[in-house]
């Protein structure tokens, strides 16, 4: 790599990583829709997509073609700028947080140290929260710009729900940050390597944060489900189920963008849950050098897949919260519980480090 300047090499490596991750993520989201329909169907004792391709595997392709070819209807009184801005904003923000998520360990390639992560920021976790905070706008603007009753109410409820659960989301991970001592996502995962020891005895339990922060995980995952507007917190989206909440007045590609950004948010949240609580890419690693590089990525994807399956499982099983139950759950239950978690974690850390 001597002929190119360091900046060029860095940019080229980053571009390759971005292309790779984007393609992988988009395919994953497309097949996540397939998986959701199949799993929910089997929970409801029916087949799900079956005709298009073997076991309906080409269904996402068919859906994509349908979305592109549908007529794009824009309401007459809709506010032009925000009507177009909202889905694109949601789409961009949904993919932005993938930039700091580490997929695997680092490896050397022709003398170049490459991390399986697009960029490692010191405040990586806060960056993801920042992007989540900005995601409220796509919902609020979508509902307002449609200039119609149901989308406006759906949007207001949905954005109020999102900003309420952002608080518990932030508080839930403070325990993890205290234990890891850093906000960088790679640092948090590195702090979870090895096994838990009681005194000198090695319990063969991986040093994952879930064993130390079960309450934190519960609060985090519940808030994350509420944040992504999924069942059982999807009242703003499917309230009067005929009318679709904030994306009622959208059709074809823009609706598809809302759809894709919802699934991308699900993927981001599941990735964060594995990174923060389940040890990220740590898992049994063996074999030749190529396998040593690919196996952590495989473990990471497997754990994320488990979370996504859990999301879909919840959708097929649970009824939805009423709106006032939802808000009081977030403010009066999860928020005090998060504060209690911080208190307990800091007491435990102080006691552990006391001379």
């Amino acid at each position: 790599m001597g002929t190119f300047s360091e900046t060029t090499v860095l940019l080229a490596v980053a571009a390759v990583k971005i292309a790779f991750v984007l393609v992988f993520l988009l395919t994953a989201i497309a097949y996540l829709t397939w998986l959701e329909r199949k799993v929910v169907a089997h929970i409801q004792a029916r087949w799900g997509p079956y005709l298009v391709g073997p076991h309906g595997l080409l269904q996402p392709v068919a859906d994509g073609i349908k979305f592109i070819m549908k007529e794009d209807i824009v309401p007459l009184e809709a506010d032009r700028v925000t009507y177009w801005l909202a889905p694109f904003l949601g789409f961009v923000l949904a993919f932005l947080s993938i930039a700091v998520i580490p997929f695997g360990g680092s490896f050397t390639f022709r003398g170049l140290r490459i991390q399986a992560q697009i960029t490692d920021v010191n405040v990586g976790l806060l960056f993801v929260f920042a992007v989540t905070s900005l995601g409220v706008y796509s919902v609020a603007l979508a509902g307002w710009s449609s200039n119609s009753k149901y989308p406006l109410f759906g949007a207001l409820r949905s954005s109020a729900q999102m900003i309420s659960y952002e608080l518990s989301l932030g508080l839930a991970v403070v325990g993890v940050i205290m234990m890891a001592g850093t906000l960088s996502l790679r640092g948090i995962v590195d702090a979870q390597s090895g096994f838990w020891h009681i005194g000198r005895v090695n319990t063969w339990l991986p040093h994952w944060n879930i064993f130390a922060q079960p309450l934190g995980f519960f609060i985090y995952f519940t808030s994350a489900v509420a944040e992504t507007n999924r069942v059982p917190f999807d009242l703003p989206e499917g309230e009067t189920e005929l009318v679709g909440g904030f994306h009622t007045e959208y059709s074809s590609m823009k609706f598809a963008m809302f759809f894709i950004s919802e699934y991308a948010n699900m993927v981001t949240v599941s990735c964060l849950a594995t990174l923060l609580f389940f040890g990220g890419w740590h898992g049994p690693v063996f074999g030749p050098a190529l396998l040593q590089v690919l196996l952590p990525v495989f473990w990471f994807c497997a754990k994320v897949f488990c979370f996504l399956f859990f999301y879909i499982w919840m959708r097929g099983t649970l009824p939805r919260f009423r709106y006032d139950q939802l808000m009081s759950f977030g403010w009066k239950f999860l928020l005090p519980l998060g504060l209690l978690n911080i208190l307990l974690t800091s007491l435990a850390i102080a006691w552990h480090e006391a001379p």
């Binding site: 801005l85 900005l134 409220v136 706008y137 609020a140 603007l141 307002w144 900003i163 952002e166």
Partner: protein, 163 residues
């Protein structure tokens, strides 16, 4: 790096001009969000990484959401322009420019753009800010927490429909 600052500065200034020029409050709010994000990038360039992220999370992600909510709830429409004195309109822009020029001259004379070597940049990490916040600045921290409590109570009381 320096090019990035000038790009962000231009973006911030254009968006700020848009904030004061737009008739519809929603567009002003969106332009203000652009200003906040551009400033967050400038803070990153200045090494204040924690403050940059806090700016996006709190300012652009919570305070501006409050603004957008209120604009939607109150159904704030376009401003209509009424008859105003011609003198004010013709004097306005030159006076503002004169004021700006005065500030810039004062700043420029005090801190001439000589690339003198500044001291090393401070460590803007959350750990450093937290240490300072909870040691030297713990009194303002506690006082602002009471301030926020008072503000919450005040906002609830003021916006209630009936007692």
């Amino acid at each position: 790096m320096t090019v990035l600052f000038y790009i962000c500065a231009a973006l911030a200034i254009l968006a700020a001009l848009n904030v004061i020029r737009q008739r519809t409050p929603v567009y002003s709010a969106l332009s203000l969000i652009v200003v906040l994000c551009a400033l967050a990038l400038v803070y990153l360039l200045l090494g204040a990484e924690f403050m940059a992220v806090i700016q996006v999370i709190v300012y652009a992600g919570a305070i501006m959401v409050l603004f957008v909510f209120v604009i939607m709830l109150l159904n704030a429409g376009k401003e209509t322009s009424r008859q105003r004195s011609r003198l004010a309109r013709w004097l306005g822009v030159p006076l503002v420019t004169a004021f700006l020029a005065e500030i810039l001259i004062a700043v420029w004379s005090q801190f001439p753009p000589v690339a003198a070597s500044p001291p090393p940049p401070p460590d803007g990490s959350p750990a450093a800010i937290g240490t300072l916040l909870f040691r030297s600045y713990v009194l303002p921290f506690e006082v602002t927490s009471i301030l926020i409590l008072v503000a919450v109570l005040g906002a609830v009381v003021l916006a209630k429909k009936e007692f």
